[in-house]
């Protein structure tokens, strides 16, 4: 792909609190569909986005059992964008900030997520066509 891009995203928000990380994943999904190489540096609460113990639940207010409710799980979205990038000739290098993982006990992540440092973020951004940081406000 002649116009293949490399993009880096830095995310900070924990899941289920606001729409910023969901918006980021929508952008990442578009890049994955285009076969771009995508780097993600998950900082602070964002290390919980790929947390493998996220579980779906029923919702009595909605009158739904677990299957019908089909509660959104960011870990599934993370796995999906990783798979989508690979399908289209790109890749997602998802790096969870290691110290952020330790202070939260969030070491268990879906496949394709690795532990890293701010140095990884610097190196990823340096090698990218563009970088977008989406911080907690």
């Amino acid at each position: 792909m002649a116009d293949k891009k490399t993009l880096t995203f830095a995310l900070m928000d924990a899941p289920f609190e606001n729409a910023r990380s969901t918006t980021a994943l929508r952008l990442i999904d578009i890049a994955a569909r285009r076969g771009y190489d995508i780097n993600v540096f998950a900082y602070e609460g964002a290390v919980y986005l790929p947390f493998s113990h996220q579980a779906k639940h029923a919702n009595a207010v909605h009158g739904h059992e677990v299957e019908e409710e089909d509660h959104p799980l960011p870990r599934e979205w993370v796995s999906a964008v990783i798979a989508e990038a690979e399908k289209n000739g790109g890749k997602v290098d998802w790096v969870n900030c290691g110290l952020c993982v330790d202070e939260r006990g969030a070491a268990d992540s879906v496949d394709g997520v690795r532990r890293g440092t701010p140095g990884d973020f610097w190196n990823m951004a340096s090698a990218s066509d563009g970088t977008l940081v989406i911080p907690t406000k």
């Binding site: 701010p118 973020f121 610097w122 340096s126 907690t136």
Partner: protein, 126 residues
């Protein structure tokens, strides 16, 4: 590659993290070989005020040690080669005088900020 970290959201988790996480990651990336500068704007200009003092946090019998030292963390950046800019109007609107600040900060007016961006390959607004 040169990057500018704009810090605007202030005191975000600073009690819990014992620092500002973007000041911290700036130190960490500089240590990893990065070429960075910092722009303090909005409420984050208060990070430069040397008189700020956070007492030790305690809950019941649990006394937390090592409180955040934000002004000191900012003041250490220039010594590592990280230039720290601070927006003059954001200082004056909050009644913060130049003499209230730690040494080593470079004041810029809002009008100068777009020109400042020209000196960087990437600008990250935190």
């Amino acid at each position: 590659m040169k990057a500018l970290n704009i810090i605007e959201t202030a005191y975000r988790g600073t009690l819990e993290e014992q620092d500002d996480t973007i000041v911290w990651i700036t130190h960490a990336m500089k240590g990893a070989g990065g070429d960075l500068s910092v722009l303090l704007r909005g409420n984050a200009v208060n990070y430069g005020v040397k008189a700020q003092n956070v007492g030790a946090l305690s809950f019941g019998a649990r006394q937390q040690k090592s409180a955040p030292q934000l002004a000191e963390d900012v003041a250490k950046l220039p010594g590592k080669g990280v230039e720290v800019f601070i927006v003059e109007e954001d200082l004056s609107e909050r009644g913060i005088a130049a003499g209230d600040l730690v040494d080593g900060l470079t004041a810029v007016s809002r009008d100068q900020v777009p020109k400042l961006f020209d000196g960087f390959d990437q600008v990250w607004h935190w």
